[in-house]
Amino acid sequence: MESIALIIVLAPLAGAILAGLFSVSRKVAHRITITGVGLSFILSLVVFKQVVLDGLLPFADGTAKEVTLYTWLSSGNSIFEIGFLIDSLTAIMMVTVTFVSWMVHIYTIGYMADDEHNWSGPGGAGKNSYQRFFSYISLFTFSMLMLVMANNFLQLFFGWEAVGLVSYLLIGFWFQRETAVYANLKAFLVNRVGDFGFLLGIAAVLMYFNSLNYADVFANANNLAGISIQVFPGVEWSLMTVICILLFIGAMGKSAQFPLHVWLPDSMEGPTPISALIHAATMVTAGIFMVARMSPLYELSTTALSFVLVIGAITALFMGFLGLVQNDIKRVVAYSTLSQLGYMTVALGASAYNAAIFHLMTHAFFKALLFLGAGSVIIAMHHEQDMRKMGGLKKYLPITYWTALIGSLALIGFPGFSGFFSKDAIIEAVHFAYEADRPGAMFAYYSVVIGVFITALYSFRMFFLTFHGQERMDEHTRSHLHEPPKVVTLPLILLAIPSVLVGVIALQALLYGNFFGDAIYIAKEHQVFTDYHGILGFVLHGLMQPPVYLAAAGVFTAYMLYMKWTDIPARIQHRFSMLHRILMDKYGFDRFNDWFFAGGARQTGNLFSSIGDKTIIDGFFVNGSAHLVNRISGILRQLQTGLLYQYAFAMIIGLLLLLGWFVHF
């Protein structure tokens, strides 16, 4: 199966290279990339069947779960290799990634059809932007697959940075727009802050485990659990805590956790298909995947887990609030993504890695669906994204409407929909951690429970403002409103199906069964999901808990505020203008970062440059010594007058002095 794994990875790469570097026509570009990713998806299903359903080991004729492709580099006694590890965790990620990617590829045909109109000026940059876009998203698929299929930290970091690169290229896809190229630089740099921690974490792993291979590291984790190190002199920290927190800093960047969340809302400057693929369904979940993959390490540090728990809870709750005040349809979905990533992180912190992956998967489907639905609305509205200019779109865009409703219901956790199961599992897990008195768990529990209400409120605010109520668009737009073509609606329908069903199908296996086997390790005292009472039991149990009613209350509130008493929101906004300003200001993070980090770095650079280099080193030492030589030689030059009598006089004086000296001694 080595060759199948290779084809899965290389097919999208080949598509990306062909579509990007060889000037092919638009049709050829989308055909080869869609074929490539489609092939990856189908083969991923084959792998899934063999590894998960048949329980076979994928490599070396069914005897190993990992394979080494080649030695990247060896140095000292460290050997760095490129290889694959395929277990159930990998398999589920591969299927999710390739499926969503495939849908997004198809959708892009429709979304980017008239992209030339987005370009202006000389040079004709829009001429092959269509091919460029397909090349990028295929390259992304390749990178993401390399990330999830890695069997070692080095390759994980490769994929990690490669998806960051493609994200950079795609956020700045419309590079003529100042906001887009600001956003992509910001995204890359904020991610680099996370990677900074991640790389140090990897360095720590290499130093103490003397290997970057997952299998070696996990096998030795218990032996090193007792070691403590001094990062600050005199302060002893557990090695595992340091490693786990450093690695998690990487996850905070990639998965946009507070306070490194700032890049994700701005990333909406990119075209909508990539918001769905990269900034909702796949890349931003890389951090979640990474922590789940490292569960044998995280289970050894409750401190790190509590840190993860609190960061996730802050993100889940406070980013949800921001979704309430946004008017740009994509930004609402973006803040919703932040909040949902917070939920996944909370699950990780509560040691419910399986619940986190479960939510990762359900979220990938319904959030991709919501983003693509938003994109469909945006196409119909001629690239208008402001919900205040929408309304009543239901009758013009029936397919988009129904699929968006399904996506929203899945997101808020409507009983029976996929999000219901995964979110309930997370709340259950946090509740368990709360009862076990794990530090931070109480805060996390209340955050995720209140978050359910907020999620429902902003989701249905968006839903009602977009599809129901008054038609607030101008006449010209209204007259052109119609459902986008099939290439756009087909992916919506295909994503709506798993958004509903995947929860029911996967619940037992993922949470209660032995689906993950040894891919995820949960210490015995941290296991939540032990007794399974069937789907119905789970639903009934859920119906007796507050979250369902909070979600209903959220929908009801949204209905009242945005359908019935439509003047109330403005009055609330007026009454609590202070609060509103804080939310509109996104708690001031962007302003602070711009001032302190971006401005501060520039100022520091100017200072070092003008004072350090120009004044002190060059001015004082270099040119200063040149001037000194100049001055001394200037004084000495006075003696070289060229007047014979002066020389004669000096000679006589000299002779006299010499004579005197000789006589004296």
């Binding site: 080649y70 030695t71 990247w72 580099l73 060896s74 140095s75 000292g76 006694n77 460290s78 202006s120 000026g121 000389p122 040079g123 940059a125 092959n128 970091f157 490769f158 940075e161 490669a162 690169l165 950079y168 290229l169 700045g172 590079f175 003529q176 727009r177 100042e178 190229v181 600001y182 630089l185 890359f188 740099l189 680099r192 802050v193 990677d195 900074f196 790389l199 140090l200 990897i202 360095a203 720590a204 290499l206 130093m207 003397n210 190190i229 990062v231 770095a601 520039r602 520091t604 650079g605 100017n606 070092f608 440059s609 350090g612 280099d613 080193i617 060059d618 030492f621 270099v622």
Partner: protein
């Protein structure tokens, strides 16, 4: 069949004689043959240099391709050449870069093209000699001689302020070399030989070692350049023609780093050990402080020049963390190997990346005649192919995995973690700062729409032609190849590096 040829001599003398031949071509009226002849010589030299790789035995630390002839019997000096796993890749790099430089000056240099091409060819021969010399006198002569062509290149084909820059460059480096000469003469006195390998066996006291180390330090630190003797570099780069900048960044800076490996570490291991903390501090200042300075540059060449200094900080850091690891653990330590091999990889990789970036600036300068960032903006609109290359090289410059720029930094950071958390911490800030200055420049030069007042310049740019595409794609292939598979490069240096570390380790042990 090539085993019998004096390969190293050929690599030194072929470009020098070829340079003279090119000068002769310059006597012809139309000078039509100048460029083809120069290219021919450069390509042959490069192809010959590849035999160094294919014929290299990576299982021994001994010098290979050795040639030894009497030179000045009275002084006991020899014409003694040889390469090991450290110098061999550097010679290939030098010969490779030379081909690109000849191509890059093809139609751009209209003023005295024969002299221009000849200067680069001769300089290549001299630089190959520096890397191959095993006799200190020979080394010193070549080391000084190589300054002359560069001085001429900056002084004749340079920008408006070229005289200041050329003299600053010359005096700075000369000051360093004079101290080195004194050190070499002292050691000749002690050992009665100018053999560099004989110097390695000298047993000197701490005081002598410290003084010699400091004398070498001045010479090599200026060349690298290390903070605070780095200010000649930005001036030299700004005024140098594109080819000069490329050779300066890609090869000449490596001379200093090479000097540490060939002289300082093996000859004065005790002093290196004693002063390692200072070297590490200076390296970290180069990484962090210079990174910030790069951020504030408005001139593209200056920005890349400062970026070079910061990247060379990784090289010196990688060399000297070995001693801190030794202090901590009492052993050579895996981190020492990672650090030193990472540093050598960084030297090679920086040759490709900085060379490529200077060539990219050259492409823009040839068209718009400005190096100022604010004169550009939206170049990607009119030069999409060029933009692709710039983004690739900028990403490589910020150490993106999959490019060669990642390999060295990664290994050095891994190694320095063993020397101390905070050393690795400061070194790893390059991930953020390096990306900030590289990509901020990309944003301001390539991205955005073309402003009204730049319609006549940026708006009318023509994308890179076949020759430029060829040059940049060659470098792109190298950058990607060594990013995806650096093992061929690492493989040749393992034994040499292990031997060097072992030598240093034993010297420190026996002094205890």
């Amino acid at each position: 069949m090539f085993a019998e040829l004096p390969l190293l001599s050929l690599l030194i003398w072929l470009p020098i004689v070829g340079g003279a031949w090119v000068l002769l071509q310059g006597k012809n009226k139309d000078m039509a043959t100048v460029r083809p002849v120069a290219l021919f010589v450069a390509v042959i030299t490069f192809l010959l240099s590849l035999f160094l790789y294919s014929g290299f035995d990576s299982s021994t630390a001994a010098m290979q391709f050795v040639e030894k002839h009497n030179w000045i019997a009275a002084l006991n000096t020899y014409y003694h050449l040889g390469v090991d796993g450290i110098s061999m890749p550097l010679i290939i790099l030098t010969s490779f870069i030379n081909v690109l430089v000849v191509l890059a000056g093809w139609e751009v240099i209209q003023k005295k093209p024969a002299q221009y091409m000849a200067a680069f060819l001769i300089m290549t021969g001299l630089m190959n000699g520096v890397f191959a010399a095993l006799d200190a006198m020979l080394f010193y002569v070549l080391w000084e001689a190589m300054l002359v062509p560069m001085f001429i290149i900056i002084g004749v084909w340079g920008g408006p302020n070229r005289v200041y820059a050329a003299i600053k460059f010359f005096l700075y480096t000369l000051l360093g070399s004079v101290l080195m000469l004194i050190a070499l003469l002292y050691m000749y006195n002690q050992s009665g030989s100018f053999g560099i390998l004989d110097f390695h066996q000298l047993q000197m006291g701490m005081t002598a070692q410290t003084l010699i180390f400091l004398a070498f330090l001045v010479a090599f630190a200026v060349k690298v350049p290390m903070w605070p003797v780095h200010t000649w570099l930005p001036d030299a780069h700004v005024e140098a023609p594109t080819g000069g900048s490329v050779v300066l960044a890609a090869i000449m800076l490596k001379m200093g780093a090479y000097g540490f490996l060939r002289f300082s570490l093996p000859i004065t291991p005790l002093a290196s050990h004693q002063l390692a903390w200072m070297m590490v501090v200076l390296s970290l200042i180069a990484v962090v402080y210079i990174g910030f300075v790069a951020l504030s540059q408005k001139d593209m060449k200056k920005l890349i020049a400062y970026s070079s200094i910061a990247h060379m900080g990784f090289v010196t850091l990688g060399f000297f963390i070995a001693f801190l690891i030794y202090d901590k653990t009492g052993q050579i330590g895996n981190g020492s190997v990672l650090g030193m091999e990472g540093a050598i990889v960084q030297m090679i990789s920086h040759g490709f990346i900085s060379g490529a970036l200077f060539l990219c600036v050259g492409v823009l300068y040839d068209r718009v005649h400005s190096r100022q960032i604010y004169d550009y903006g939206g170049v990607a609109n009119t030069m999409p192919l060029f933009a692709m290359f710039v983004v690739l090289f900028a990403m490589a410059n910020s150490g993106l995995p999959g490019t060669s720029g990642f390999v060295g930094e990664f290994l050095v950071i891994l190694g320095s973690f063993e020397a101390g958390f905070w050393i690795a911490f400061l070194a790893a800030t390059t991930l953020i700062i390096g990306a900030a200055y590289s990509l901020w420049m990309v944003k301001r030069v390539l991205y955005g729409s073309i402003a009204e007042d730049k319609m006549e310049t940026v708006g009318k740019l023509s994308d890179i032609n076949g020759r430029e595409t060829f040059i940049l794609s060659t470098l792109a292939v190298m950058v990607l190849f060594f990013g995806i598979w650096p093992e061929p490069l690492l493989d040749v240096m393992h034994v040499t590096v292990a031997n060097l570390l072992d030598h240093v380790h034993q010297a420190i042990q026996s002094a205890r």
